[in-house]
């Protein structure tokens, strides 16, 4: 996939179509991250739409730190999720317009079962992370649930990379054996840097 720099420049010039392309390019990554964080389908969809509305609102001052817009988008998602109630109230009318468009059918039994099962796994899988202190939770969630590198996570959260590492280390220590898969895989991710 080509980088997002050119797309971003067009968005900064208020090109709504370019904004739509950015949405299409990153929607699944943003919504997946919001799903992991909230374990709630509606909350994740509203948070995802809010992220993109905030991008549009801040288009003139936001800048990309890498060629990908993913760190910026997930950094905004992190802030939106932190202040979800306030952020979404700001856009309640716009969210209503987007929310009611193109809802996937939910009356198919197989699909309903798949959704229920996925939500259950989300809730169970993320419970240990959601209990962590906020600063550690935010770092660990991006490590575990996004494809960002440590450098990109640092950019997303506006932190030095050393702080990302230290918070991750503390989070892993807290999790201990509660989430062995995650502690193992984050260790592996760190080792590959």
């Amino acid at each position: 996939m080509a980088g997002d720099t050119q797309l971003w420049e067009r968005i900064r010039s208020s090109d709504a179509e370019a904004f739509g392309d950015l949405y299409k390019r990153h929607i699944r990554a943003v919504q997946s991250y919001c799903l992991w964080r909230t374990a709630d389908l509606q909350a994740a969809e509203d948070a995802t739409a809010t992220v993109f509305l905030e991008v549009w609102r801040g288009r003139e001052r936001l800048t990309l730190s890498t060629d990908s817009a993913a760190p910026v988008l997930l950094g905004i998602a992190n802030n939106v999720l932190r202040r979800q109630w306030r952020s979404q109230r700001r856009y309640r009318d716009a969210l209503e317009r987007i929310r009611n468009v193109g809802q996937a059918p939910t009356d198919l039994e197989a699909e309903a079962i798949a959704r229920t099962d996925a939500i259950r796994q989300l809730r169970e899988g993320g419970e240990a992370i959601r209990r962590l202190p906020r600063r550690e939770r935010e770092v660990l969630a991006l490590v575990a649930w996004s494809d960002l590198s440590y450098g990109e996570i640092a950019a997303a959260l506006g932190l030095p990379i050393g702080t990302v590492r230290s918070r991750l280390s503390r989070a892993r220590a807290r999790l201990g054996d509660a989430f062995p898969d995650l502690t193992t895989t984050t260790r592996t991710a760190e080792d590959t840097l």
Binding site: G20, K24, Q31, L62, G102, A104
Partner: protein, 325 residues
């Protein structure tokens, strides 16, 4: 990392949905319909406030300042993480009700905040009084009030465990009394874990005169509600309420003068200690300027007053935290 991820494909939009939402989003931003919405008028009596820093990707400062609009925006409140855990929400001005609600919501405390024009309050009753355990011991409930300098109110969000640890350290001589009080700040302490799902914090109040400054003081009322809270219907307060009574007492330079307030109980804000509430209307005790006074009223139903301390906490209230000027 992938080994820990379930398949989310059933929860993500399919291509048709994605394209439809993309079109709706483009249409929304292109038409200007994504402009931020004003908050409901009955919940917001002050100017619209903007979150300083917004969602910029820079690291958030340790202190999150929320400011009012205007060329020289005053601070409405600040959220300060505390070294020993928890946070302190300092209210600098009775403005930005929705912002304060959001700040409390971030800690898991549901609230309804209403800032009113001066010398007005909300018609009561508008909620069913309830009570919660205070993280500094005792319980808080019913309806209470604070009056004093407008910049002196604060809410401490902390756990009961945090307070017990500091108490133990004080008892062991590991920390001084001053260190103890500075470690559990706040004119009101709140433990989010103490709230049941149907309980919420209700705050309302207004600015008023203090020490000769027509806008220098504020009166703040608070209560714990059980169930729904009706919107505030502003009504005038005869004589300026508790703040007015306090001002008159200060002018008289009489620490014993209680003005119109029917003294049913007193809290000087020095820690968990509080006098047990008696039945009766809103009350208060007036003493020389520089102190914030808490008044309380029993809930109409049987239950504790605004703050009821555990017995062992009696007598701690001579703390320097009561002197906030």
């Amino acid at each position: 990392v992938n080994t820990t991820k379930p398949d989310l494909s059933s929860l993500l939009p399919d291509d048709a949905t994605l394209n439809a939402r993309r079109a709706a989003l483009v249409d929304t931003v292109g038409s200007g319909a994504s402009s931020p919405q004003p908050t409901p008028p009955f919940r917001r009596c002050g100017p619209r406030l903007a979150l300083g820093g917004g969602i910029a990707l820079a690291a958030l400062a340790a202190t999150l300042i929320v400011s009012a609009g205007g060329n020289n925006p005053p601070k409405a409140f600040a959220v300060e993480p505390q070294d020993g855990g928890g946070s302190l929400i300092k209210v600098y001005s009775p403005e930005d009700a929705s912002g304060l609600e959001a700040a409390l919501a971030e800690f898991g405390i549901r609230s309804q905040v209403t800032w009113l024009p001066r010398e007005t309050t909300c018609r009561e009753p508008r909620f069913t009084p309830s009570s919660v355990r205070s993280p500094r011991g005792g319980t808080m409930g019913g309806a209470g009030g604070l009056a004093g300098p407008a910049t002196a109110f604060s809410f401490s969000v902390m756990s009961g465990q945090q307070w017990r640890e500091r108490r133990q350290e004080l008892a062991n001589g590991e920390i001084s009394k001053e260190e103890y009080f500075s470690s559990i700040p706040g004119t009101i302490a709140l433990d989010p874990a103490a709230f049941r799902p149907d309980q919420s914090l209700v705050i309302w109040g207004s600015r008023g005169p203090f020490r000769g400054d027509p806008e220098g003081g504020a009166e703040l009322r608070f209560g714990i509600a059980e169930g729904p809270v009706a919107s505030c219907e502003p009504v005038s307060v005869a004589g300026g309420g508790v703040l007015g009574a306090m001002n008159r007492a200060v002018e008289d330079e009489s620490a014993q003068h209680t003005a119109e307030a029917t003294a049913s109980g007193v809290l000087s804000l020095g820690g968990a200690a509080a006098a047990a509430a008696e039945s009766g209307p809103v009350g208060g005790q007036i003493s020389p300027a520089g102190l914030i006074h808490t008044v309380y009223r029993r809930p109409s139903k049987a239950g504790p007053g605004a703050i009821s301390p555990p017995g062992r906490e009696q007598g701690i209230d001579a703390s320097p935290r009561g002197r906030l000027v």
